[in-house]
C-alpha cells in the first residue's frame, strides 16, 4: 500500500508583507487543504529580537506549521530542523486523530501512560522516515533580502542533503517573490534534488514590495495543479517526474 505524501510550504522572509491579500488567511486555507505552511524569519546581524516579525508567527500558526526566527548565519541548521519538526508534527496530528477514534475524544499522546507512548512515537518516527515529502520553497527576494540570499542558497542545498538521506522520496520546487512581472516567479520546477540550485539567485532584480499573500496563493495553486495531475496520471507518476516538469 502507498503511504501518503506530506506537503509543505517553506517560506523564507525578513519582514512584513505590504502588497496583496492577507497571508495569514491564505495559510489557514492551505492548512484546510492538508498543506503545512512553515515560516523562517531571517534577521540581519545588527537586528535585535523579533520586532516586526509577528506576521511570521501568525502565518505559521494558522498554516499548521512551525515558525522560527534566526540570524542569517544560523540558517542552514534551522531550515532542516524546521522542515523535520513540521513533518513530525503533521504526522503526529494524523496519529492523534486516529488515537481519538480508538480511545474516544480528549485522548491525545499526553494522555497515554509513558509506556504506551513509546509505541506510538515509534510509529510516528517510522512514518516520518518513510513518507514521501513535497516541499515548495518560497523565497522573499525584496530589496532587503539581497544580502542574505547567498545564505539562503547554502541553507537550501543543506536541506537537500538532509532530506536525501531519508528513506522516503522527496520533491522540491523553488519560487521567489516578487517576480519581474507577476507576484511570483518560478526558479526551479519539481525536482528530487536541489543541487541544480547554484546560480538560481544570481539574476535577480530585487523589488521593493513584499506580496507574501499572493505568493502563498500561487503556491496553493501550484499544489492544486500537481495534485490533479498526480490524480490523473498516478500510474505514470515516476515517468512524469523523470521527464522533468
Amino acid at each position: 500500500m502507498k503511504k501518503g505524501t506530506l506537503r509543505q510550504v517553506l517560506l523564507l522572509t525578513d519582514g512584513c508583507s505590504n502588497a496583496g491579500g492577507d497571508p495569514v488567511a491564505i495559510a489557514a486555507l492551505m492548512k484546510e487543504q492538508g498543506i503545512t505552511v512553515n515560516v523562517i524569519g531571517i534577521l540581519e546581524e545588527s537586528q535585535h529580537g523579533e520586532h516586526g516579525l509577528n506576521e511570521v508567527e501568525q502565518i505559521a500558526s494558522s498554516g499548521g506549521g512551525i515558525s522560527q526566527i534566526v540570524y542569517a548565519k544560523q540558517l542552514s541548521q534551522t531550515v532542516q530542523m524546521v522542515t523535520r519538526k513540521a513533518m513530525t508534527q503533521t504526522i503526529q496530528g494524523v496519529v492523534n486523530k486516529e488515537l481519538q477514534q480508538i480511545l474516544g475524544e480528549e485522548h491525545e499522546l499526553e494522555d497515554l501512560s509513558p509506556a504506551k507512548r513509546g509505541q506510538v512515537v515509534e510509529v510516528v518516527d517510522d512514518l516520518g522516515e518513510t513518507m514521501d515529502l513535497e516541499v515548495l520553497i518560497l523565497v522573499d527576494t525584496s530589496a532587503s533580502m539581497t544580502k542574505k540570499l547567498p545564505m539562503v542558497q547554502e541553507a537550501l542545498i543543506d536541506l537537500s542533503v538532509s532530506l536525501r538521506s531519508r528513506t522516503g522520496a522527496n520533491q522540491f520546487s523553488l519560487y521567489s517573490f516578487p517576480g519581474k512581472r507577476q507576484d511570483v516567479e518560478k526558479r526551479l520546477g519539481w525536482t528530487p534534488h536541489l543541487d541544480s540550485l547554484s546560480g538560481v539567485f544570481k539574476k535577480l532584480t530585487p523589488g521593493g514590495l513584499t506580496p507574501t499573500g499572493p505568493a502563498l496563493q500561487e503556491a496553493l495553486h501550484i499544489f492544486y495543479k500537481r495534485m490533479d495531475r498526480i490524480e490523473v496520471e498516478r500510474d505514470e507518476r515516476t515517468d512524469l517526474e523523470e521527464t522533468g516538469m
Partner: protein, 335 residues
C-alpha cells in the same frame, strides 16, 4: 547546537524543588541544573536510590523518542552503552504538564579541556575507548548521530570516556536526527546524513581536530577536505594522527574496529614527546627518581610526565615503554 532566538518557554524546575511523578508517584528532589539541550533541560536530582539526572522537556514526542533509544540500550548487553534509564513520567506544574525521564547520573570532566591539559597520546587513548563503544553501538544497529565533545564526559579514575546524551541516536539506514555542523560530514560536503558507521567515524575524526582547535573551524567554499587536512598538519598535537584522521574523514574506515586497530598500533609505535605541545608548562627541574619503574604509581607518573621537562632521551624512552604497557593494559580492560 546554537540556540535559535525564539524558543517557546520550556518547563523550569527550581533548585530544592520536590516533585512527584504523575504516573509512578516517585519523588524527586531537584538539586541543580546540569545543562540544556535541544529537547529539554537536565537537572541533578536526589532520589530514593541516590543521585540521578532528570531531563524534563516540553514535547512528549521528542522526550519519548529519547526514552525509546535509552530503552533499546538497556537491552544491549554490556556496560557503558549510554546511561541507564531509571524512570519515565510526567510532572504537573502550574504552567502545564511536562514529560520527563530519569537516568543514571554520570559525573565527569569535560573532554576537550581534559585532553588539552594532558599529552597528545591521551587523545588517542580516549578515542580508542570511544571507538570500542561505537563499535558495539553499530553492531546493535544504531548510529550515535550527534557525536561531539559536549555529549561526552571523562569519568574515573580509571580514566574512561563515556557518552551521556543520546538524543541524536538514530537507527542505521535512516537519516540523522540531530547534528552539530562542525562534526557533520554533510556540512563539510564530505558525505550524506545517513545513519551509518562512517557517519560517526567522521565525527570522531572531527573530535580529534577539535582538540587542537577548541574554537572550531568554519567551512570554505570548496576543497574542504584539503583545508581540514592542512589544519591537521599544522598542529604538532595531531601530527601523529594525521593518517588516521584522513581515513576517518574520507570514509575509508567501514567500521569502528578498523580505526581502533590503526590507532592502537600507531600509539604503540609513536613516542609522544611532551615538550612539543607542553612548552609553556616545562619546568627546569628534572626529577630523575620519577623514572623508576613502579607498577603502582605508573598512572600517576604518566600524568606527571607531561608537566616535567624531559630533555633526557632515556627518560622519554622509559616513559614510552611505560605508556605502551599502559595502552595495552587499557585495551585489555576494554575488551
Amino acid at each position: 547546537m546554537r540556540e535559535p532566538i525564539s524558543k517557546k518557554q520550556g518547563c523550569k524546575l527550581y533548585n530544592d524543588q520536590r516533585l512527584i511523578g504523575k504516573w509512578h508517584k516517585n519523588q524527586y528532589h531537584i538539586i541543580k541544573e546540569l545543562g540544556r539541550g535541544a529537547t529539554g533541560t537536565v537537572y541533578l536530582a536526589d532520589t530514593k536510590a541516590g543521585l540521578a539526572a532528570l531531563k524534563v522537556g516540553q514535547d512528549a514526542m521528542s522526550i519519548t523518542s529519547e526514552v525509546n533509544v535509552l530503552k533499546h540500550f538497556s537491552k544491549v548487553q554490556g556496560d557503558h552503552l549510554g546511561p541507564s534509564l531509571i524512570d519515565v513520567d510526567d510532572v504537573e506544574t502550574t504552567s502545564g504538564t511536562y514529560p520527563f525521564y530519569v537516568m543514571e547520573y554520570i559525573k565527569g570532566e569535560e573532554v576537550i579541556p581534559f585532553l588539552r591539559s594532558r599529552g597528545g597520546e591521551w587523545i588517542g587513548i580516549t578515542i580508542i575507548q570511544l571507538l570500542g563503544d561505537l563499535d558495539r553501538l553499530h553492531l546493535a544497529g544504531w548510529a550515535f548521530g550527534d557525536l561531539k565533545p559536549e555529549n561526552l564526559l571523562m569519568t574515573g579514575p580509571p580514566v574512561r570516556v563515556r557518552w551521556f546524551d543520546v538524543g541524536g541516536t538514530t537507527k542505521l539506514g535512516r537519516s540523522i536526527k540531530e547534528y552539530t555542523e562542525f562534526f557533520d560530514r554533510g556540512y563539510w560536503g564530505l558525505g550524506s546524513r545517513k545513519a551509518e558507521p562512517t557517519y560517526d567515524l567522521f565525527a570522531v575524526g572531527m573530535i580529534m581536530i577539535n582538540c587542537a582547535y577548541p574554537s572550531r573551524l568554519e567551512r570554505k567554499d570548496k576543497d574542504n577536505l584539503k583545508y581540514l587536512l592542512t589544519q591537521v598538519s599544522q598542529t604538532s598535537m595531531l601530527t601523529a594522527y594525521s593518517s588516521v584522521i584522513k581515513k576517518a574523514l574520507t570514509g575509508s574506515y567501514h567500521d569502528a574496529l578498523h580505526m581502533r586497530k590503526d590507532l592502537t598500533e600507531l600509539i604503540g609505535h609513536t613516542s609522544f614527546s611532551p615538550e612539543k605541545h607542553m612548552v609553556k608548562k616545562r619546568s627546569p627541574v628534572i626529577n630523575k627518581e620519577s623514572a623508576t619503574v613502579n607498577r603502582k604509581s605508573y598512572k600517576k607518573r604518566v600524568r606527571r610526565q607531561q608537566k616535567r621537562s624531559s630533555g633526557i632521551g632515556e627518560t622519554v624512552l622509559v616513559a614510552s615503554f611505560l605508556l605502551l604497557a599502559y595502552v595495552l593494559y587499557l585495551v585489555g580492560q576494554i575488551m
